[in-house]
Structures are given as structure tokens and as C-alpha cells.
């Protein structure tokens, strides 16, 4: 999930204003005496910069000869791909487990970690998840999953209680809850579809629970298609968008967080990463989360969770030893815990659990392993599914839309 896409504006704005600040952070450390080895840590998230900076400061204290420079530009994946064309890869990369990772791993940019001790410390489900992103011809694990996320429905506990409703366990119960919220004059769902990527949250939940296993591989092989297998997904998306507010396509992610924090909306389709943002608007809000119940069989409903941060190392780095040292440092239980606590995230490191009471509603999924991956991470990046889905939710032309998804997929793969 390219979360920072939604924050492009804020990020670009702050970049424009404080470009020097960014480099200033790294540069300040770089100036320190004895900084013999310089490592670049490239990150695709703007949300976790402070956490990294704290961890880096601690690491540099323990290892005075290593100097780590954090670089987290806006539109990071694009920046990374364009740096690749210049053969100027960062030593260490903290990126999401998505199609970009798969492309880059296939291109042979990353070191293969298969069989290393690091992977023993990581939950195998997440290792499988990123292995599947790399095409069939290439074997190997080119990254170390670190933090994971959950694609959830966030809800306002107080409002749900006022309405006299329970957390829904099936699709029918969910639609019923939306209906009752609407009848009571509340905004059932705070949609933020001005930012196209936010539509992917509900899309991923719905699609992950309905699409056949290995849809992407089958689609590429011509054995599956959107027209055949996504009809129900499209219908359910149209049902959900009925329960928005007046201006579903005019409100963006950051405005939506504020509005939801201020009590506008009972449900909010967002991942765990939005929780700190909502709490910024209203620190006292009583939030809960649950996996979207997409089918009517509670046993079948799974939580969509993906690798939010994985560490990859460039094959061309001159400082492999130092880079490994830093990875080992981050993988320590205590550091992994610090990361997930500050980021309201989940850890891919074995034995590190998120104990925040807000996350109670999805804890069971992590314990039982009723988890599935983000469908869109397996779509070809060039087809820009998010914008197509945004257009579909406006125009509501199901048949045409499904056909378009099929065409765009084929078109991009044929290039």
C-alpha cells in the first residue's frame, strides 16, 4: 500500500518549505567526527521518519564509526525507480512489500537473503507473501519483512454503542449496521475518495475475500479475468459507496482523518496507519477496528494484512557488513517493539505483538493466522487500478469497468 501517496501534498509542501531540513538531519550526523562509513537508508514512508531517526541515533551511539543517512522523499517508489535508471542505488532500502518490490527483485537489484539467519526470526506467512511477489522465474527472498499493516474498518466505539449495534460479523450484519447508522442521521462511512488510493482499502478487503486464490498468476496465464471473477466485488463496492456522505469524492485523506476524529462518521475504511493521524485530531476518541466482513460466513472472513516495511540491501553496496549490523540491530525484539508501538503497526518479527487495546478487534486474526494478502500488490503497477476504481465509483458502470480492468492489465503486460 503506497500510503504516502495520499500524503503527497503534505509531503511535497513540507519538502518545498523545508527541503534543507531533511538533508539537514542526515547532514548533521554526517558532519560528526569519526563517521567513517556512510550508509544510506532509503524509506518510502514519511510517517515513520521520527521513529527511524530515534533508532538511528541509538545505533550510531553504539557504532560511532557508522553514519546512517535517512532519505524519505515523497513519491519514493518513483524516485527509487528513477535512481535505478541512473545506477545509483541506496545501500539499504525500507520499502513496502508490493509490486514495485517484485519488479526490482526480479531485475536483480536486491541481495538474496534466502537461508540466512535473519529469516528464521520472521513469521513465515510474511516471507511467503513477499516471495509470491517475485515472478515465477526468480526464486529467493530479497527482503526481510519487518513491519506489517492491517487493512481494516476503523469504527467509533461510542457511536456504535449509541446506535445499539454490535461489531458486525457478516456482510448482511454490516450492511444492516450501515443502514441503521444512515437512518439515525449519522454519516455511516467517512469516504475520502478524492485521494484515489483510499478507495483501495475497501477494494482490497472485498476482493481478497472473494477472488479465487492466486488470481494474479491465473489472470496473467489467461485462466481468470476481472469480468469473470470480480463481478461480486464490484457490486459490493457499489453497495458500500451508497453509505457515504455528501461529498465522497471531494474529501481527501488528511481532511477525512480530521473529520472522522471529530465524530463525522461511524465507520472509516482505513488501515492501522490512520489511527495515530485520527488521534491527532481528537486524542480522546474511542476507536476500535475489525476486519471487513465480506462474506456471510464468519469463518471465511479474513483480515487483509501486508508487509508495510521490508529491508532490502543493494547488491552493489560497498558496506555490506555495516548494513547487516544495522539490520540485526533493528531486528532485536526490543527495537521491533519500539517500532510497532510508535507506529501503531504490527511486527513481522516472531514474538513481537501489538498490545494496543484499539487493535483488540484484529488480534485474533494475527493469532490464528486468518490473514490474507493485499490483492492489488499483485496487479501490474502500470495499470493504476486506484484511479480506475475511483472512476468506477463515480460512474457506476460495472460491465464497462470490469472490461477496462482486463484490458489495462493485458495492455500493460504486453508492453
Amino acid at each position: 500500500m503506497k500510503k504516502n501517496n495520499g500524503k503527497i501534498l503534505t509531503s511535497l509542501f513540507s519538502l518545498a518549505v523545508g527541503a534543507t531540513l531533511l538533508t539537514g538531519c542526515g547532514g548533521g550526523d554526517a558532519g560528526g567526527e569519526g563517521g567513517d562509513v556512510q550508509l544510506e537508508l532509503f524509506s518510502n514512508k514519511s510517517e515513520n521518519m521520527e521513529t527511524y531517526e530515534g533508532l538511528i541515533a541509538e545505533f550510531e551511539e553504539q557504532n560511532p564509526t557508522i553514519d546512517i543517512e535517512l532519505n524519505a522523499p515523497p513519491e519514493a517508489e518513483t524516485v527509487l525507480k528513477s535512481r535505478l535508471t541512473k545506477n545509483d542505488m541506496p545501500d539499504l532500502m525500507a520499502i513496502g512489500g508490493n509490486a514495485t518490490y517484485g519488479d526490482l527483485a526480479e531485475a536483480g537489484i536486491f541481495k538474496d537473503f534466502s537461508g540466512s539467519d535473519y529469516l528464521e526470526q520472521i513469521q513465515p506467512a510474511y516471507i511467503d507473501m513477499i516471495n509470491k511477489l517475485v515472478g515465477e522465474e526468480t526464486e529467493g527472498t530479497y527482503g526481510i519483512p519487518y513491519a506489517t499493516n492491517a487493512n481494516t474498518v476503523i469504527y467509533n466505539k461510542d457511536k456504535l454503542e449509541e446506535l445499539g449495534l454490535e461489531v458486525p460479523k457478516t456482510w448482511d450484519e454490516f450492511v444492516n449496521a450501515l443502514e441503521e447508522a444512515k437512518a439515525a442521521g449519522e454519516i455511516p462511512v467517512q469516504f475520502t475518495l478524492k485521494d484515489a488510493w483510499t478507495g483501495m482499502i475497501s477494494w482490497n478487503s472485498v476482493a481478497a475475500n472473494i477472488q479465487p486464490d492466486n488470481f494474479a498468476a491465473k489472470k496473467s496465464a489467461g485462466e481468470a479475468s476481472f469480468q469473470e471473477h470480480y463481478s461480486e466485488v464490484a457490486d459490493k463496492m457499489l453497495t458500500l459507496v451508497e453509505y457515504g456522505h455528501d461529498d465522497n469524492f471531494g474529501v481527501g485523506y488528511s481532511d477525512g482523518n480530521t473529520a472522522f476524529g471529530n465524530g463525522e462518521g461511524v465507520f472509516y475504511f482505513q488501515g492501522n496507519w490512520a489511527i495515530p493521524e485520527i488521534k491527532k485530531a481528537n486524542p480522546d476518541i474511542n476507536l476500535g477496528v475489525f476486519p471487513m466482513p465480506v462474506t456471510n460466513n464468519p469463518e471465511e472472513n479474513k483480515l487483509v494484512s501486508g508487509v508495510d516495511v521490508l529491508f532490502a540491501m543493494s547488491t552493489e553496496t560497498e558496506h555490506e557488513e555495516e548494513a547487516r549490523k544495522f539490520i540485526e540491530f533493528l531486528l532485536e525484539q526490543e527495537k521491533a517493539k519500539q517500532y510497532i508501538d510508535e507506529q501503531a503497526a504490527f511486527s513481522a518479527v516472531k514474538g513481537v505483538l501489538q498490545e494496543d487495546p484499539v487493535m483488540e478487534g484484529i488480534k485474533q486474526n494475527f493469532e490464528e493466522g486468518t490473514i490474507t494478502s493485499f490483492p492489488d500488490h499483485y496487479y501490474p503497477a502500470g495499470m493504476q487500478a486506484a484511479n480506475l476504481i475511483q472512476a468506477f465509483l463515480i460512474e457506476k458502470n460495472k460491465d464497462e469497468f470490469l472490461k477496462k480492468l482486463d484490458n489495462e492489465w493485458d495492455k500493460v503486460e504486453n508492453r
Binding site: K81, L84, D246, D247, F249, N387, Q390, V412
Partner: protein
């Protein structure tokens, strides 16, 4: 004489070298890669004209061309009307003339992303709040969220920002017109309207040409306005060609394909600019 010429050649060489290395060479590289299937990294093969043929069959590229032209034509016309009006106002003998000139130039020195941030706020909160309290339903939603209206929002911001620069060019033109002409016209009994069409407009014709060409070219390459306001959405309704090339080329791993698109687009812009200059300069001569 020979010596003097050598000095001139020496003076141009650094600029020529820089231009070649940073401009011409990348262009040639882009043209080269447009005949391959390079993703931006990894291996590649020659594919001939396949990329070019695909661009013509790509609905997304065609709709990007449609949006870009619609946007640039409307914006170019509006910018030229507004900047001419503002320039004539600032050229008149008014109080605080210098201060006002500085104020009207302000938008040009603000970064487009910052302007975009402000306009985003205006469209998302300011206008809807006012419209709601006045009971105007049509404006109570964010227009950037409506696929049919989002482009209007971009035009508003682009025009607001671009008027500043074109005003300066028109002002430079207006200053060259001697007051004697207006005085003579007044004695002949010409009204303000007549004066404008018979004196002002013909005499600033060269500035009109350059403003039209520059504005059109800038708007055809529109990119940061869209990143700041809509990111190409809703759907793909405000995706300009530059944005499509950037998105597809770098995010989507279609470097070679979008290079072909860029080459086609380059040719289109050259044709339009040459056409504009030809037509408008002909008009200058006739005057």
C-alpha cells in the same frame, strides 16, 4: 575581425556544450529507447515501431491528449485576456502604481505546489462552506472531486498563477507605445474602445504573439498544477500527458513506451508552436 569572431565562438561553446550534454543528449537517448522495450532497468531488446503503434491505440493516452488540449486552449485564452486587462490597468496613471505592479507579480514567484496547497484548501473548505451558508447547492461540494468539473479548478489556479508573468510582458509592450498617439486619437474624437482596437492592440502585436506561444507551450506541459490539486483524478479525468509519461514511465515501469509517447508529444508541441508563430506573425506584418 577574425579575432573578434573567435571570441564570440569561445563564448558560445560552454553554453552549447552544457545544452548538448543536459538537453540534446537525453533527448537522443529518449528517442533511442523509444524503439526498445526497456523498463527503466534490466535488459532490453529492439521492438521497432511497436511502442508508437501502441500509443495510438491507447485510450488512456488519447484521453490525456484530449484533456491537455482542452485545458491549454481555455487557459491560454483566459490568461491572455486577463493579463492584457491587468497590464492596461497597471499602465494607466494610477496611485501606488509600483506597489500594485509588485503585488500582481507575486503569484509568479510562489511555487506552484504551495499555490496548489492553498487552492486545495479553498476548493475543499472555503468555497463549499461559503456556498453552504448562502444555500447555493451547486457549489457546496469540492469541485475537484467531480470528474466533469475538476479541470475547471485546475484552470482557475493555472490562470491565477500565470497571469502574473504574462502581465509583465504586456506591460513591457504597452510602455513602448508613445502617448502622442493617444493624444492624436483623442483629438480625432476616438473613444477608449476605438483607441484599444486601433492603437494599443496592433502595436503590441509582437507581445501578443510571444504571450500566446509561451502560454500555450507552458500549459501543454502542465504537470505540477495537477500533482498539487488532483493527482490526475477523479479517475483519470485530469491526467495530462506529462503526468501520464511520468507515471507510466517511472511508476509503471513503461519507460520505453512512455518515451515513444514523449517523442510523439514533442513533435506535436513543435508543430503547434510553429503554426502559432506563423499565423500570428503574419498578422503582425499585415498591421
Amino acid at each position: 575581425m577574425q579575432k573578434r569572431q573567435n571570441a564570440f565562438i569561445l563564448m558560445t561553446i560552454p553554453a552549447l556544450a552544457l545544452f548538448f550534454i543536459f538537453h540534446t543528449f537525453p533527448v537522443l537517448q529518449g528517442i533511442f529507447y523509444s524503439f526498445t522495450d526497456w523498463k527503466g532497468y534490466g535488459d532490453w531488446n529492439f521492438v521497432g515501431f511497436k511502442n508508437y503503434l501502441n500509443v495510438f491505440q491507447d485510450g488512456r493516452a488519447l484521453s490525456a491528449y484530449g484533456f491537455t488540449f482542452q485545458f491549454s486552449i481555455v487557459s491560454t485564452i483566459l490568461v491572455n485576456i486577463f493579463s492584457l486587462v491587468v497590464a492596461m490597468g497597471l499602465n494607466a496613471k494610477i496611485k501606488f502604481q509600483k506597489t500594485l505592479r509588485a503585488v500582481y507579480f507575486m503569484p509568479n514567484i510562489l511555487g506552484i505546489l504551495i499555490v496548489g496547497y492553498i487552492f486545495n484548501f479553498i476548493f475543499a473548505h472555503f468555497i463549499p462552506d461559503i456556498a453552504e451558508s448562502l444555500g447555493i447547492n451547486a457549489l457546496s461540494k469540492n469541485i475537484l472531486g467531480d470528474p466533469d468539473l475538476a479541470w475547471v479548478g485546475i484552470v482557475i489556479m493555472a490562470v491565477w498563477q500565470a497571469v502574473a508573468f504574462n502581465t509583465i510582458l504586456y506591460l513591457a509592450g504597452l510602455v513602448t507605445i508613445s502617448d502622442d498617439l493617444y493624444e492624436a486619437a483623442s483629438i480625432d474624437g476616438a473613444g477608449p474602445w476605438k483607441k484599444f482596437w486601433a492603437i494599443t492592440f496592433p502595436l503590441i502585436a509582437p507581445f501578443f504573439t510571444i504571450n500566446m506561444v509561451l502560454a500555450m507551450k507552458n500549459f501543454l506541459m502542465v504537470f505540477d498544477h495537477i500533482i498539487a490539486l488532483t493527482g490526475g483524478g477523479p479517475g483519470q479525468s485530469t491526467e495530462s500527458i506529462s503526468l501520464l509519461i511520468y507515471r507510466g514511465g517511472f511508476e509503471g515501469g513503461e519507460f520505453a513506451y512512455q518515451s515513444a509517447n514523449a517523442v510523439i508529444y514533442f513533435i506535436v508541441i513543435v508543430i503547434i508552436s510553429v503554426f502559432q508563430i506563423r499565423v500570428l506573425q503574419k498578422r503582425e506584418v499585415e498591421m
